[in-house]
């Protein structure tokens, strides 16, 4: 019988298989950041072990880094200690590190792909749940705990129980105003935040094949919000073109050998998935969340749902709680929900295409009175590229704040946070209670919706801007 993409990549990494034991898998790439690595390094030190494969390990700083005044000492002592610890650990063990201020620094899941380190058919791990992002290249990529981080540092392997496989097939074509973010929010709303539990999801079908690499990363990034262990997309021309000439992409004959292998990484015709979901792309529209988990979303044109309309009692209860926290009443059109803050950034939507599409909406327009808009590139490279294209000017002229690269307002671990009761439209991936700051309220949106929302001051899509003329630049 044929095998799925996920099964092929798995099989190619089995170091040891024995009856009654989990398979021992080889790890091709281990990404590190400051939050989940300190105890792992400490464990190595205590047992007198070294990092087995420095050439497969790389670290950057992202969660705790400020996005303003990056040349000044970090004010928060806890953040400072975490960063200093990573620097010491990397120096002691010889791990390549891109610290704050370095040109390759950025959100770990933006850095790996842009360096060309994330490649088809590899196994990628990181002590971070959004490692699923890297699956966009046809890699088997997943988040791990601190004990597992230590295990990979010491052995470059992990004992793993097998996954189940799920296919999410997106038929047809996405309407022009619908982005990858809208698609993944709609998928999560459909299968639920627990719907992917235990599965590796493979996204496939014509609408997926048409997506750019960066859009594919947005999709795979949020697989974890559906509870999935990982998300994957089969590598194709788009993937190869994106990788070619990146700093760590194979060169010359090795490139040819790599492509020959990558081309085998497709689910066989006769392979069987444990579960299948089919979505019609043509039916989709810009999508936003109204609740406190990423599955609580609806088309922008809809209204806040009535919890009583949920048949499942636990969903009904969750919706009641969510509306209470979000201070929303059933029946309110989502377009009438006013926001205080707009955040464009994160490993979901902090890449150059995301900034371009937000800038295209903002160009010649301005951020509404009383609204704060933060634009935070996912990495220093993305930032440099945006500056080269003049996007930073578009943002600042519109009244938005242009910041240094990092996780920023995606999570309340650095100075960029919502104040209690503040409401944000955010291109990040989690709308959990307090995620963006204690008491903060989050609506997950695409970069286009974020930009339109900033202009109008309430949740909106670019289509709503027709009556706000863009000032054509001279």
């Amino acid at each position: 019988m044929g095998r799925t993409l996920a099964e092929k990549v798995w099989d190619d990494h089995v170091v040891r298989r024995a009856e009654g034991e989990p398979d021992l898998l080889f790890i091709d790439l281990h990404l590190l950041h400051e939050v989940t690595s300190p105890q792992a390094f400490d464990g190595l030190r205590k047992s007198g072990r070294r990092v087995r494969r420095l050439d497969l390990t790389i670290a950057t700083e992202d969660h705790n880094t400020p996005t303003l005044d990056i040349d000044k000492p970090i004010a928060d002592p806890v953040s400072r200690v975490q960063l200093e610890t990573l620097r010491k650990n990397c120096a002691d063990f010889g791990v390549r590190l891109h610290p704050l201020g370095d040109v390759e620094q950025g959100v770990v899941h933006v850095v790996g792909p842009q360096l060309g380190l994330t490649q088809p058919g590899t196994t990628v791990v990181c002590g971070d749940s959004h490692t699923s992002t890297h699956g966009a290249f046809g890699a088997l990529a997943f988040g791990i705990g601190t004990s597992q981080v230590e295990h990979v540092l010491a052995t470059q392997t992990l004992p793993l129980a097998p996954f189940r496989t799920m296919a999410v097939t997106v038929e047809g074509e996405l309407p022009p105003d619908v982005t990858a973010k809208d698609l993944i929010l709609a998928i999560i709303a459909r299968i639920g935040t627990g719907g992917g539990q235990g599965y590796v999801i493979e996204y496939r079908g014509p609408a997926i094949e048409k997506l750019s690499m960066e859009a594919r990363m947005t999709i795979c990034n949020m697989s974890i919000e559906a509870g999935a262990r990982a998300g994957m997309i089969a590598p194709d021309r788009t993937t190869f073109d994106y990788l070619r000439d990146r700093p760590h992409a194979p060169q010359g004959e090795e490139w040819d050998a790599a492509v020959a292998y990558w081309e085998t990484l497709r689910t066989d015709e006769d392979a069987v998935f444990d579960h299948e979901v089919v979505i019609d792309a043509a039916e989709l529209a810009p999508f936003v969340t109204w609740g406190t988990n990423p599955g609580q979303g609806a088309p922008l044109s809809a209204s806040v749902p009535d919890p009583a309309s949920f048949a499942d009692p636990s969903e009904r209860y969750a919706a009641e709680k969510a509306l209470e926290y979000m201070a929303l009443e059933p029946g309110r059109p989502l377009r009438e929900v006013a926001v205080d803050t707009v955040f464009v950034g994160s490993c979901t939507n902090g890449r150059i295409e995301d900034l371009r599409s937000a800038a295209a909406v903002l160009r010649g327009r301005s951020v509404a009175e009383g609204v704060r808009m933060l634009v935070v590139p996912g990495s220093v490279r993305v930032s440099l590229q945006a500056v080269e294209e003049g996007l930073d000017k578009v943002f600042t002229e519109a009244g938005a704040e242009w910041r240094h690269a990092g996780c920023s307002m995606c999570l309340g671990m650095n100075p960029d946070q919502l104040a209690p009761g503040e409401r944000a439209a955010s291109t990040s991936n989690r709308n959990f209670e307090g995620r963006q700051g204690k008491g903060g309220r989050t609506h997950l949106v695409s970069p286009q919706v974020a930009a339109a929302t900033a202009v109008l001051g309430h949740l909106a899509s670019p289509a709503d801007l027709s009556d706000v003329p863009a000032l054509v630049e001279a």
Partner: protein
């Protein structure tokens, strides 16, 4: 991980049930970046009371904790185990442990021993009467011994084997070094490397 074969030491009787991991190590300690240095956080709230058993001079240097039932409930934090070990405990005896805490303890080489409540009571009375009384936890013989007490205990064979040999997950994997090396040498040259050439 250090191997555990047999250990003899003085004990601390902790006559409380349902000691959760928040009491073992409060949440604000979780910001620490190391696996050691948690000893001062162990039972932090209770230790503010000079009469708390851990603060008594006769208990200094004790290495066996004889606890009440349902020890280690609540949050899954591995830090609770680290705190007990950092303080110097080698074994904890109770009639019932929370599952996750037990799993974490055995993973880290802290032996958690389950004994009948009457035997736990007897051990607590013994050490309260005579703080110098020694308790032996013998993993080879699967037995706890003290003056007037000889009690067998159960532990699954796999956990016992790992503890006796001091094998953590990493050590077990490293026993397959030959497999890892063989895999590495067969890896295609086009696979990515983080080092710049």
């Amino acid at each position: 991980m250090e191997a555990f074969t047999t250990h003899t030491g003085r004990a601390v009787p902790l006559r409380r049930s349902n000691v959760d991991t928040d009491q073992i190590i409060p949440a604000h300690w979780l910001k620490k970046v190391t696996r050691d240095g948690f000893e001062d956080g162990l039972f932090e709230a209770w230790r503010r009371d000079p009469e708390f058993v851990l603060n008594r001079p006769e208990r200094q240097g004790a290495t066996v904790l004889v606890a009440g039932p349902d020890f280690g409930t609540g949050s899954s934090r591995e830090h609770a185990v680290w705190a007990l070990q950092n303080y110097g405990f080698k074994a904890v005896i109770s009639s019932r442990f929370a599952d996750i805490f037990r799993g974490n303890s055995l993973k880290n080489g802290l032996l958690t021993v389950v004994l009948e409540q009457e035997i736990v009571d007897a051990l607590q009375q013994l050490t309260e009467r005579d703080p110098a009384a020694a308790i032996t936890v013998d993993l080879v013989a699967r037995e706890v011994r003290a003056e007037g007490v000889t009690a067998p205990f159960e532990l699954d064979e796999n956990s016992r084997w790992r503890l006796l040999n001091g094998l953590d997950d990493i050590s077990i994997t490293l026993r397959n070094e030959a497999d890892i090396a063989a895999y590495e040498s067969a890896r295609p040259a086009f696979k990515p490397r983080t080092t710049l050439v």
